[in-house]
Symmetry: C2
Subunit: 136 residues, 2 copies
């Protein structure tokens, strides 16, 4: 069963907001970064590249938290605590292009960076919410 998102907060999961993703370093120091995301109604999808701190952290320590703040009101936010429920490279290249289009209008994420396009391994992380707090 999935966690209920308050009706009034749904836009914070549906709009292309640059959210904050928090992962845990090996010493449990929180690591916080702005990231693109997408919500499929049940999971939050994050897309990163193999080898990054975020990738290593989410693989080794699946407790992660996402903070989605209204760009028009810094005091209105949805905090989603969750666990990484799925990690997959399948479809991750197409998915980063999809996110790129969603956020920038450009569906070609790598552009002219041919080396990066050829070498970078993209990964999708699906985060299952375990606790949601909405504040406005």
């Amino acid at each position: 069963m999935s966690i209920q998102v308050p009706e009034a907060a749904k836009d914070l999961l549906e709009r292309p907001i640059v959210v904050t993703l928090v992962t845990l370093m090996p010493d449990y120091q929180p690591q916080a970064n702005p990231v693109w995301f997408e919500w499929d109604g049940e999971y939050i999808w994050i897309n990163t590249a193999r080898g990054r701190a975020k990738d290593k952290n989410m693989t080794a320590r699946p407790k992660v938290t996402v903070l989605s703040t209204d760009p028009d009101d810094p005091y209105r936010y949805l905090e989603v605590r969750g666990v990484v429920a799925e990690v997959t490279e399948k479809g991750a290249f197409d998915h980063i292009n999809h996110l790129s289009e969603r956020y920038t209008g450009n569906p070609d994420f790598f552009g002219s960076d041919h080396k990066r396009r050829a070498t970078e391994v993209r990964v999708i992380y699906k985060i299952r919410p375990t606790k949601i707090s909405y504040h406005d």
Copy 2:
């Protein structure tokens, strides 16, 4: 010795930005909230109330992280990982009024909420940065 903040990033510690504070719950799930803050050149000052999750978390697990994102550019940010170096109630009532003035222009944080003014115990947390990452 204090950690060096890149010159180009200093505004992200000096402007009244609503930053994200990440603390650790007892099970090490990250807890992320927007908060007011202030930087004294060495420490990040956060002001909260006794009894809140943030208060309990920072007291029990002093590894915390602050993300300061440019309100005008969500891809420009400073991530400050640090430790809680000092916790004090001394001056914390005046300090929350000072933060209130800094962020809202109103130096009377509690306003007409007399009950809260009389019962809430404010606390200052001073966070010493251990690692700073600037991205623009």
